[in-house]
């Protein structure tokens, strides 16, 4: 439907490339093609809306019929109409300010030229306050969810520390010193969860969960964190252990995988859990295999020795 004949860049400095379809619609070339509401298209939209008696009377279906633009779907019109009703400008993050002003002017002109200025302005005011209220509500919700997230993080950390303290003692009573040590190492990773940003903010979303074998293989690399003794009741070096382990895990995970995963903010912590299982088991096995484990300690280069990599992944995961 939206075949792109010739790529036409609107502005050379704008990041999303736009292509002119044969229907006359302009679409961006990012992974999800989005419709760009150009000035002309918006004009036609406004005309259609006023023809139908204003934004309240018009429905996406009727607008579509009146506009008669090929390739325009109800979804496009629905969202654009909603924004129009609330008095917002479309795509304000892509347009520069001049365009914004132009759009606003356009709206004002449109409503004044149709002769229903008074009513539209009043509607706009109530719409604006309503939009404001909605926005406050959304912000409140987001804030609350952020609170939940923070408290959840603290609780999980607390429980993790507690479990670690118990298991340390259990381990110490079983095996010699460095067995407990490497077990602890495995644990510190296992108990850490990825950074705050990686937790889902707004309810269940489909996680991108490849069932890679590399995930499990990389688990063994976690043992290579060096002999740093994690303090069970405090944060080492003041950093959140979650970020640290996340970065190191990402760094351990291999060359290309790590950056892309951090980019998408979609590292599932369960992946970490999966990774760490094997490292825990590695450390947990009795002495003979432990030697193999400690051999691994020296084999893999410690990710802490590649600080740029670390910084890179950490920055990326901040999004």
């Amino acid at each position: 439907m939206f075949s792109s004949k010739k790529p036409t860049t609107m502005n050379s400095h704008e990041r999303p490339l736009c292509v002119q379809g044969d229907s006359g619609l302009v679409l961006t070339t990012d992974p999800k093609p989005r419709l760009r509401w150009t000035v002309e298209l918006h004009d036609r939209f406004v005309d259609a809306v006023t023809q139908l008696g204003g934004p309240d009377k018009a429905t996406p279906k009727t607008i579509m019929r009146v506009m008669g633009v090929k390739g325009l779907t109800l979804y496009h019109l629905k969202s654009h109409l909603q924004k129009f009703r609330l008095g917002k400008q479309p795509h304000k993050e892509f347009n520069d300010h001049s365009k914004d002003a132009a759009a606003l002017d356009m709206q004002r002109n449109a409503s004044s030229s149709s002769g229903i200025m008074g009513r539209t302005m009043n509607d706009r005011n109530t719409h604006i306050t309503e939009a404001f209220r909605m926005q406050m509500e959304v912000q409140r919700r987001l804030h609350e969810q952020l609170e939940v997230q923070k408290s959840l993080q603290m609780k999980i950390e607390a429980q993790g520390k507690y479990m670690q303290s118990i298991l340390e003692k259990a381990c110490q009573s079983l095996a010699a010193g460095d067995a407990a040590e490497s077990y602890r190492l495995g644990f510190n990773n296992h108990l850490s969860f990825p950074s705050l940003q990686d937790l889902h903010l707004l309810g269940p979303t489909q996680l991108d969960m490849p069932h890679d074998d590399t995930f499990y293989a990389a688990g063994e690399a976690n043992v290579c964190l060096g002999k740093k003794r994690p303090n069970p009741y405090g944060n080492p070096s003041g950093k959140s252990p979650m970020m640290w382990a996340d970065a190191t895990t990402a760094a351990c995970m291999g060359t290309q995988e790590a950056p892309s995963k951090s980019d998408q903010l979609q590292i599932s912590p369960a992946v970490n859990g999966g990774l760490d299982m094997e490292s825990i088991m590695d450390a947990y096995e009795p002495k003979p295999i432990l030697d193999k484990g400690s051999a691994k300690l020296h084999e893999r280069p410690s990710p802490l020795s590649t600080p740029e990599r670390l910084m890179q992944t950490r920055n990326l995961s901040y999004g």
Partner: protein
């Protein structure tokens, strides 16, 4: 229904036909089972369908990936003995056939153990066949699960376990428990939801007293302590964190080891509380010799907000009797508890008409553990060592217990599948609404795990953790009814008649 073949031995007193060739070889054995015979056939169909659709989603669960309806385990039509396996043979791999066949056999064995026509010899035969199939086949996830169930059934058949496995090293068990916490959100979901409800219920209290039914190693309380220390109660300056007192309910006459364990738990909790800056004290209270809880055993102080916490059947501990749990919950009114939190297992996968005797309960357990298996397999394939430890130390014993319990309660009908919620309501406990914060937290927690997990608000006071369509665990929060006026009996309790007869949970 019966297969007429040469050299065949028919055992038709059960309605099953076996094809066994001359040398008693089992190589081409097809169970010609008359599914009409099984009252639970419809539920079985549902079970198979749900397992199949899971397999279709995932493409590797071990069951054939055909669309619903093509496996007709129909109760209505007369079955030719080769129907199920013929259909299976045309689709899927050897593994898929195996999975379905194992389930068939397990249910047949269960039926043979307690059906209308009990036939222990048949059960024996079926179990032997199962073991042979399992020994022969490769190790797939389904097979391991079937192996545990087979062992459990064998235990029933033998009337008491012949080989008493040595009780696992508690250190090992603890490690397995810790691994399980990382693999499945069940444990954390229970703890965090209950804790959040507790925190919300005691916001402006200066002293909090929690009586914990099964404290184990006290893992639940670390996050509660953290939450109490950082609570925001909307006052300025914010109130100092309350004094927390935890009383652990212990079994009477327990060995020296478990007493030491409780002391250890107390010490560790105290150390942790000190590390977060919470004033804390710890105590014990013993159950009676018959495992009943007597309210008088708990030391109460004035001005305390009392909370009863009851995590029923934690995965790394053996089961407690229902009588014991009931006595604990029933003491809430007389103790003046402000809040009662209950974390319990759910068996809500099926259509609700499974409570028909042992087979129904068995199938419910099979379904529940299949869901758990599926959820673990999603991220932690069974070849992993960690998974192996968890399976061996936790899942295996739990499955055995579950089957034994199902057997003991087979006469109870559908009551056996009800949770404690129904009983609490019947006895007059009120529902305490769970907050949006709590629900949000649960969803966020699940976001850390596989996206097959879901949390549902089944009732305003109950959150249920589900894997796909199967409920696994629920947390419900209750307020105790006002104590009944003092009566001649030492501890006032509602009339026994209103209790459902849980012989064991």
């Amino acid at each position: 229904m019966e297969v007429a073949m040469d050299g065949m031995m028919e055992m038709d007193k059960f309605g099953c036909g076996f094809a066994i060739d001359g040398e008693l070889g089992w190589s081409s054995w097809s169970p010609g089972i008359d599914w009409e015979y099984f009252p639970a056939a419809d539920d079985f169909h549902g079970l198979i369908e749900s397992m199949i659709s899971d397999g279709a989603d995932r493409g590797g669960y071990g069951l054939p990936e055909f669309c619903d309806g093509s496996v007709t385990v129909s109760a209505s039509s007369t079955n030719t003995p080769n129907t199920p396996t013929e259909e299976l043979a045309t689709v899927g791999t050897v593994d898929d056939e195996m999975g379905l066949r194992l389930v068939h056999l397990l249910i047949a064995a269960a039926e043979a153990l307690t059906g209308v026509q009990k036939c222990p010899e048949l059960a024996h035969v079926i179990l032997a066949r199962l073991k042979e199939l399992l020994a022969r086949g490769g190790e797939s996830s389904m097979e391991r699960l079937a192996a545990y169930f087979t062992d459990a059934l064998q235990g029933l058949l033998d009337g008491g376990r012949q080989q008493e496995d040595p009780p696992p090293n508690p250190g090992e068990l603890l490690k397995a428990f810790h691994l399980l916490q990382g693999m499945s959100p069940c444990v954390k979901f229970g703890y965090l939801t209950a804790n959040q409800a507790i925190v919300e219920a005691v916001t402006d209290q200066r002293r909090v007293h929690i009586v914990d039914y099964d404290i184990a190693e006290g893992a639940q309380w670390a996050s509660l302590m953290q939450a109490l220390v950082t609570r925001k109660d909307g006052q300025s300056p914010p109130l100092p964190p309350p004094h927390l007192r935890i009383t652990a309910v212990t079994r009477c006459g327990a060995g020296r080891r478990s007493v030491a364990t409780i002391h250890d738990t107390g010490r560790r909790l105290a150390a942790f509380a000190a590390s977060v800056g919470l004033s804390f004290s710890f105590g014990q209270c013993r159950l009676d010799s018959d495992e009943q809880f007597r309210p008088a055993a708990v030391k109460l102080f004035k001005g305390e907000a009392l909370v009863l916490n009851c995590v029923i059947n934690p995965p790394h501990l053996p089961r407690r009797s229902a009588v014991s749990v009931r006595s604990f919950l029933a003491s809430a009114p007389s103790l003046g508890a402000r809040l009662v939190t209950v974390v319990e297992e759910e068996r809500g996968g099926g259509k609700g008409d499974e409570g028909r005797g042992f087979v129904g309960l068995f199938m419910a357990e099979l379904q529940r553990y299949s869901a758990i298996w599926d959820s673990l397999e999603a991220r932690f394939p069974m070849q992993g060592r960690a998974r192996g430890v968890v399976d061996r130390l936790i899942m295996g014993p739990r499955i055995t217990e579950a089957v034994e319990t199902a057997y003991r309660r087979r006469e109870e009908g559908s009551v056996a599948l009800e949770g404690w919620g129904k009983w609490l309501e019947a006895v007059g406990f009120g529902r305490v609404v769970l907050s949006f914060f709590n629900l949000c937290q649960a969803k966020l927690l699940l976001g850390l795990f596989d996206d097959g997990y879901r949390v549902e608000e089944e009732a305003p006071n109950k959150l249920v953790l589900c894997w796909k369509n199967c409920s696994l665990l629920s947390v419900s929060v209750w307020s105790a009814p006002p104590p009944s006026p003092p009566s001649p009996s030492p501890s006032p309790s509602p009339s026994e008649a209103s209790f459902p007869k849980h012989s064991s949970i």
